[in-house]
């Protein structure tokens, strides 16, 4: 029995151990890019295997946890896997594999001097840590880890533009982190603990006496994570940086960075800050504005990658709708809202990276993603055109692709909560998304080629094409068979909304 517990604990630690080892190993192969690539692929495959077995373990045995140093829960730091964590770990592993294969597939001679793989592993380490931890300060540390990795990737792959984009994204994310740190300090001052389940009990007591202090802290956290998730008033860093790095890195960013922000909001406001009232109204307003600002920004752009970056903002708005519905009095509505958010995060975490990868392929063929300098790809590469169409229509929410089910879930939940204007915003943003996707289709694929392709350093090898097509195939399969993923999302939402303090209390073992 003890051995079995040891293996379980070990499995929970693996999503952190594998990227750490991968980082060290790939640093050792400084001058052998091929060996670095092998380490990256092996690490991503191992991560995928671990994530899938964690997902199976959680659905068979319920929530599994590991206590660092075997300290009991409120004292020690708890690493916990529930269905939501396991799903997010699986998404991370899939996107890590795709990004590693795609990034390694370039024929760019410069690449061998760029230590991308160690930094990629740092990002994975931070993201996985954020998905596992149930300690507020620990979450801050993982956020810093993933940010440092992402700045490194941005600077290394973006050249001059990358450095400039990194200044902007670093400044705004750093301010977000400082606000987060401030809120962590105030939370500790109020409740005397940072363990999320313990906080749920203690903050409820503090809230009864000093509601203003707890509410102010909750809003500080909301601001910090809105900045990290690129929600409306704090979204500026995203369109200034997402279009700059190479496509593989871009795909990893689009899949994971903002999602960690949404994930953290979901955790914090269902667990420690569940007692705070009124923030849902603000989130609802922010969600609607984020959807609209994102699509309006995209409409004005004339570069494929920049259009996609703006749409990332708009899609964050859809994810935030589920959070806004947490205020609903009916339990079914809350469940529907959180389910929609989780399903949307998973759908978008696959579709948006796929579109960025296709933009990378277009850049490799055409030398540019500027819509004015592209064209004729429908004749030259018909399969790529079909693949783009599948991914783009999925993003816009056309049945029977995954985006349709994700948007349907969001809109159904909003209708049942009676949030009419959120429904209107979601439908309007969906229409404008379709408009932008049609614009890309017309300019890049349909119109005749405009002269000779420009020379480009960003060539993509065969493995990159295979990775992109495989990802779009996965999206299409999810669109045709959404039930499995939807059931998993609903299961995850039910766990997130359940009385967590009690569950963790049962899990707790003596020191």
């Amino acid at each position: 029995m003890n051995l079995w517990h040891g293996i379980q604990d070990g499995l929970v630690a693996m999503p952190l151990v594998i990227p750490l080892l991968g980082m060290g190993l790939s640093l050792m192969f400084w001058k052998q890019p091929r060996a670095r690539q092998t380490v990256g692929v092996a690490a991503s495959l191992l991560l995928l295997a671990v994530a899938v077995s964690l997902l199976r373990m959680v659905s068979e045995q319920g929530i599994t946890a590991m206590r660092l140093g075997s300290w009991a829960s409120p004292v020690g730091i708890l690493m916990e896997v529930d269905t939501l964590s396991a799903l997010m770990l699986t998404l991370t592993a899939i996107m890590a594999l795709v990004a590693v294969v795609f990034s390694g597939a370039g024929n760019d001679p410069e690449d061998r001097h760029r230590p991308l793989m160690p930094l990629l592993m740092v990002v994975l380490l931070g993201v996985n840590g954020a998905f596992l931890t149930r300690d507020l300060f620990n979450l801050y540390v993982w956020f810093e880890v993933l940010l440092m990795g992402s700045f490194g990737l941005l600077i290394l792959t973006g050249g001059r533009e990358g450095r400039e984009a990194a200044v902007k994204s670093l400044t705004l994310n750093l301010i977000g982190s400082l606000v987060f740190l401030l809120a962590v300090g105030v939370t500790y001052g109020l409740a005397g603990t940072l363990d999320m389940a313990d906080l749920q009990i203690k903050l409820a007591q503090v809230h009864a006496e000093r509601p203003a202090a707890v509410t102010a802290t909750a809003f500080l956290l909301l601001m910090a994570f809105a900045a990290k998730a690129a929600m409306f008033p704090f979204h500026f860093w995203l369109p200034a940086s997402y279009h700059v790095p190479t496509a593989g890195v871009c795909a990893l960013f689009a899949a994971l960075l903002t999602k960690v922000g949404v994930y953290s909001l979901l955790r914090l406001f269902t667990l420690p800050f569940a007692v705070v009232q009124g923030w849902e109204t603000v989130v609802g307003l922010v969600a609607g504005l984020t959807m609209l600002i994102g699509v309006f920004g995209a409409v004005t752009q004339f570069d494929m990658k920049r259009i996609l970056a703006w749409h990332s903002i708009s899609q964050i708005g859809y994810m935030a709708v589920g959070l806004a519905l947490l205020a609903a009095p009916a339990a079914e509505v809350r469940l529907a809202g959180v389910t929609a958010t989780i399903f949307f995060v998973l759908h978008h975490g696959l579709v948006k990276p796929a579109l960025f990868l296709i933009a990378g392929l277009v850049e490799s063929l055409n030398g540019s993603t500027n819509l004015k300098k592209t064209g004729g790809l429908y004749l030259a590469k018909p399969i790529l055109a079909v693949v783009f169409l599948l991914a783009a229509l999925s993003l816009a929410g056309i049945p029977p692709l995954s985006g349709f089910w994700a948007k349907l879930a969001v809109i159904q939940a909003s209708v049942s909560a009676g949030a009419g204007w959120l429904v209107a915003a979601a439908l309007g943003a969906g229409l404008l998304t379709l408009l932008s996707m049609v614009k890309i289709w017309n300019e890049v694929f349909w119109k005749p080629a405009s002269g000779t392709p420009l020379p480009t350093a960003r060539r993509v090898g065969r493995a990159g094409w295979v990775a992109t097509f495989a990802l779009v195939l996965l999206i299409t399969v999810i669109g045709l068979q959404p039930q499995l993923l939807f059931d998993l999302s609903e299961n995850a939402a039910a766990q997130v909304l359940a009385d967590r303090a009690r569950i963790v209390g049962i899990l707790k073992v003596g020191p």
């Binding site: 984009a165 200044v167 606000v179 740190l181 300090g185 105030v186 500790y188």
Partner: protein, 115 residues
């Protein structure tokens, strides 16, 4: 003492935000440093200040005295200072390099990636 430190936190944030709004690279970095120090100090203060009572356990006792200082905020601040130092080091190098790119002392000149 708490009030004094709270005012100091406020002062650090004010100066930090003022410098951020000045739009030169050096002031951006110093502003971020001041904001970081303000946040660290705020964490330290909000954990509660205890003077001259180290959280040490006496030879016979099993736990520290009830009025001893709480070591956790200090551990948090120590971690945050180290992280902040690394981030600022990266930011300073990055900003210096972009200034070389631009040969301009105004952050508003950085518009290549803007939309």
């Amino acid at each position: 003492m708490t009030l004094l430190l709270a005012l100091l936190v406020g002062l650090l944030f004010t100066l930090g935000i003022y410098l951020l709004l000045q739009r030169t690279p050096a002031q951006l970095i110093i502003g971020l440093m001041l904001l970081g120090n303000g946040a660290n100090l705020a964490v330290f203060v909000s954990g509660g200040l205890t003077r001259g009572q180290p959280p040490l356990i006496a030879a016979e006792a099993l736990e520290p005295a009830a009025d001893a200082a709480d070591p956790l905020p200090q551990a948090l601040v120590l971690t945050a200072i180290v992280i902040g130092f690394a981030v600022i080091a990266l930011a300073a190098t990055l900003v210096w390099r972009t200034q070389v790119d631009h040969a301009d002392n105004d952050l508003d000149a950085m518009q290549r990636t803007d939309t």
